[in-house]
C-alpha cells in the first residue's frame, strides 16, 4: 500500500479525576492510508471516541494527551501551536459528530454553519461560501437545498441534520473525515441512508474516513479495515473481511457472536458478553479482558499481551488467540461463555 496519510504512535490520553487518573487511551498506534475507510469499534468506554477527539486535539477537560505522536504530512499534530492546529481542523481533518441535534448551533442558520467552515480557511466572500453551502447540501442529497440552507437546525429532521453535519465536514474537501458514531442518534431506516451516503462520498471524494462505532454491522457495510478497542487499547486489527471471517481475539470473537448475521452458516446462538467493561481507574492486571474471557490462561492474569501478527495483515493482542481456543478448548461449540469456562482457569487471585 501507499504511504500512510496519518500515523498514530503510542497515543496516551488521560483524564484526571478526583478519584485518580483514567487512562482512556493507553498506547494506541495505527496507520491510516489515503482514501481508505477505517473502522474503530468498541463498547462505550473503550476509548474509541477519545481516540478520535485526540486526533484533532479536541479532548474535553479534564482530559489531556500525555504522550505519543499523531503524524500528518510530516507534522506531529501534538506538537503544533494552537493556531497551526486550528488551521488543520476542518480544512485537512474534518469531524462529524454523533448527535446532530446538539452538535448544530440552534441560533444560526444551517447554510451559514456550513459556509462558516469554508470562511475559516478559504479566501472567499460570504455570499460565495453560502452558495457553496447550498451546493454541498445538494450533494448530501437534501431536497430543496436553497430553502433548507435558510432554515435553522430545529426546522430540519434528524436525518437532514446529520446530512448537514456531513456537508459541513466536506466543506473544505478534507483529506481525512473522522465520523464519531454518526448514525447512533438516528432511526434505523435513516441510519442506512446516512451510511450509504458516507460510503459514496468516500468513493467519490477519495477522503480517508475514520469511522468510530460500537456497531460491527456499520463496520461491515462501510470499512475496509478495522481496529477493535477494549479498555483503552487496541486488541485486534486487520482487514474487515478477514476479521469477520476469522477473529483471533476472544473479545472480537464475542463481539461478532453478539450480532445477528443473515449469512450465518449454522444456526448459532446469539450471545452477549458476560460481565461489565472494566473500571479504567483500576484496570485489571495482565490482559484487560481476562476477567470476562472464557479462554483465559494463567498468563493472562499477570502479563500484558502485545499486538502481534497472527495472520497476514492481522494483528491481535492475546496470549491464547482463537485458533488455539478452537483447537484446544472447543470454542466453536461452546455454550457456556462465562469467564474461564472454556479454559477452566478460575480466579483465586483475581480482581484487586
Amino acid at each position: 500500500m501507499a504511504t500512510p496519510i496519518l500515523q498514530v504512535k503510542d497515543l496516551q490520553t488521560q483524564f484526571t479525576t478526583h478519584d485518580g487518573v483514567v487512562r482512556a487511551v493507553d498506547g494506541v498506534s495505527f496507520d491510516l492510508y489515503p482514501g481508505e475507510s477505517l473502522g474503530i469499534v468498541g463498547e462505550s468506554g473503550s476509548g474509541k471516541s477519545v481516540t478520535a477527539l485526540s486526533l484533532l486535539r479536541l479532548v474535553p477537560n479534564p482530559g489531556r494527551i500525555v504522550g505519543g505522536q499523531v503524524l500528518f504530512r510530516n507534522d506531529d499534530l501534538l506538537q503544533l501551536s494552537d493556531e497551526e492546529m486550528r488551521e488543520i481542523r476542518g480544512r485537512d481533518i474534518a469531524m462529524i459528530f454523533q448527535d446532530p441535534q446538539s452538535s448544530l448551533n440552534p441560533v444560526l442558520r444551517t447554510g451559514f454553519q456550513i459556509a462558516e467552515a469554508m470562511l475559516a480557511h478559504q479566501r472567499s466572500t460570504r455570499s460565495q461560501a453560502l452558495r457553496r453551502a447550498v451546493e454541498l447540501l445538494r450533494r448530501v442529497r437534501i431536497p430543496a437545498a436553497e430553502s433548507r440552507a435558510k432554515d435553522y437546525p430545529h426546522q430540519l429532521s434528524g436525518g437532514m441534520r446529520q446530512r448537514a453535519m456531513i456537508a459541513m465536514g466536506l466543506a473544505n474537501a478534507p483529506a481525512i473525515v473522522v465520523a464519531d458514531e454518526p448514525t447512533t442518534a438516528l432511526d434505523v431506516t435513516v441510519q442506512a441512508q446516512i451510511l450509504e451516503l458516507l460510503a459514496d462520498l468516500n468513493h467519490e471524494l477519495g477522503a480517508a474516513v475514520v469511522m468510530i462505532t460500537h456497531n460491527m454491522g456499520v463496520v461491515a457495510g462501510l470499512c475496509t479495515r478495522v481496529l477493535v478497542m477494549y479498555a483503552g487499547q487496541i486488541v485486534e486489527q486487520g482487514p474487515v473481511e478477514q476479521i469477520f471471517e476469522d477473529p483471533q481475539h476472544p473479545y472480537t470473537w464475542s463481539l461478532l457472536k453478539s450480532i445477528p448475521r443473515v449469512d450465518a452458516v449454522r444456526h448459532e446462538r446469539l450471545r452477549s458478553i458476560e460481565g461489565i467493561a472494566p473500571d479504567l481507574l483500576r484496570p485489571p492486571r495482565g490482559c484487560r479482558f481476562h476477567p470476562r474471557c472464557p479462554f483465559r490462561v494463567e498468563k493472562c492474569f499477570s502479563d500484558d499481551p502485545h499486538l502481534i501478527e497472527v495472520k497476514p495483515d492481522q494483528r491481535a493482542a492475546c496470549w491464547v488467540t482463537m485458533d488455539r481456543a478452537r483447537a484446544e478448548m472447543g470454542a466453536d461449540d461452546l455454550l457456556d461463555i462465562r469467564p474461564g469456562s472454556a479454559s477452566g482457569v478460575q480466579a483465586g487471585r483475581l480482581v484487586e
Binding site: L58, P60, E87, R89, A94, N105, P106, V107, A117
Partner: protein, 318 residues
C-alpha cells in the same frame, strides 16, 4: 425574523398595554379621590375661593362623574391640570419627563448589558482564576449596593474628591443644565442606575456561558477550525444570552424604579423627580399623571424585551 404574526402580536400587546395603563391610572385615581376634597389642597383656601377651586377641578361633582370625565380625557391623552400650578396641563410635562427618564434608563440599560455581559464572559473564559474571583466578588458587592449608595460614592469620588485633587480643574458637575442630558452629565447617573443590574447580568452570563461552552455545538465549531474569538462571540455568547434576556424585563423594571431615587440625587428632570416632588407637594393630579407615564413606560419596556427574544432566539415566534 419579524413576520406578519409578529406585527399582529405587537398590535395586540399595544392594546393590552393601553388597557393596563387605563387600569393602573384608574386605581390611583379612585384611591386618591377617596380622600376628602380639602385634603387635596396644600394652600389654605377659604369660602368662595375654595368652592371655586373645587369647581374648577370638577371636584364638587359625584365621584362617578369625575371618574367618567377622567376616563374621557384619558382617551384624548389629557391628564388634566396641576393642582399646585393652576392652568398648567400635565400631559406635555409627563411626556417630556418620560423621554428624559427613558434616555437615562436606556444609557443605564446599555451599561447593564455591556458591562454585565463583558464581565460575565471574561469571568467564564478565565474560570477559577484571580480575574474570575475579582469579577465575581465585584458583582456580589454590586447587586447588594442600593443605587443611591453607588450614586453617592460616585458623586463623592468624581464630584468632590476629584475636584479637590485637581484643584477644581477637572471634576464632574452634579446637576442637569439642559432639558436633556449631555454625554458628560448622563454617564454617572446611568452608571449608578445600571451597576446593580449589571452585576446580576454578569452573574447570569457567567453561569450560562460556562454551561454553553460545554455544549456539543461548541465542539463542532472548534472542529471546523474557527478562531477562538468567533467561537466565543458567535457561537457561545448568542446562546448564553437567551437565559440572560429572561431577566432583562425585571431588570429594566429595576432601572425604571431606581430612577426615582437617582434622578432626585442628580437633579435630573425626569419622571422620578416629578414623582417625588408631586407626592411631597400633594399635587394629586400630577401623581396620577406620573403613574400613568410609568405604567406606559413599563409596558413598552416589557414589549421591547419580548421582541428582543425573537431577535436572539430563532426558535421563538409570535
Amino acid at each position: 425574523m419579524f413576520t406578519r404574526g409578529t406585527l399582529i402580536y405587537i398590535v395586540q400587546r399595544l392594546v393590552l398595554i393601553t388597557l393596563a395603563v387605563l387600569g393602573v391610572s384608574s386605581l390611583v385615581f379612585l384611591g386618591i379621590h377617596r380622600l376628602p376634597g380639602d385634603a387635596l389642597f396644600s394652600e389654605h383656601l377659604r369660602g368662595t375661593q375654595y368652592e371655586l377651586t373645587l369647581h374648577h377641578y370638577g371636584l364638587d361633582r359625584p365621584l362617578w362623574q369625575q371618574y367618567l370625565t377622567f376616563l374621557g380625557n384619558m382617551f384624548h391623552g389629557d391628564l388634566g391640570e396641576s393642582l399646585v400650578n393652576r392652568g398648567v396641563p400635565i400631559t406635555p410635562i409627563v411626556l417630556r419627563e418620560m423621554s428624559v427618564s427613558a434616555e437615562v434608563g436606556l444609557v443605564a440599560l446599555i451599561f447593564t448589558i455591556g458591562l454585565g455581559m463583558s464581565f460575565g464572559v471574561i469571568a467564564a473564559l478565565r474560570q477559577n482564576t484571580w480575574l474570575d474571583y475579582l469579577l465575581s466578588t465585584t458583582s456580589v458587592i454590586g447587586y447588594s449596593m442600593p443605587n443611591f449608595v453607588i450614586a453617592t460614592f460616585l458623586i463623592l469620588v468624581f464630584g468632590v474628591w476629584l475636584e479637590n485633587i485637581t484643584h477644581g480643574n477637572f471634576y464632574f458637575e452634579i446637576g442637569w443644565p439642559g432639558r436633556y442630558g449631555s454625554i458628560g452629565a448622563i454617564w454617572l447617573p446611568a452608571f449608578a442606575l445600571g451597576f446593580p443590574s449589571a452585576s446580576i447580568v454578569a452573574r447570569m452570563t457567567r453561569a450560562s456561558m460556562l454551561e454553553v461552552l460545554q455544549q456539543d455545538f461548541i465542539r463542532t465549531a472548534r472542529a471546523k477550525g474557527l478562531a477562538p474569538a468567533t467561537i466565543t462571540i458567535r457561537h457561545a455568547l448568542r446562546n448564553a444570552l437567551i437565559p440572560v434576556i429572561t431577566v432583562l424585563g425585571p431588570l429594566a423594571m429595576a432601572i425604571i424604579t431606581g430612577g426615582v431615587v437617582v434622578e432626585n440625587i442628580f437633579g435630573i428632570p425626569g419622571l422620578g423627580k416629578e414623582f417625588a416632588t408631586s407626592i411631597l407637594n400633594r399635587d394629586y393630579n400630577v401623581v396620577i399623571g406620573v403613574f400613568t407615564g410609568y405604567a406606559a413606560l413599563v409596558g413598552l419596556t416589557n414589549l421591547g424585551v419580548d421582541l428582543l427574544y425573537v431577535v436572539i432566539d430563532p426558535r421563538i415566534r409570535y
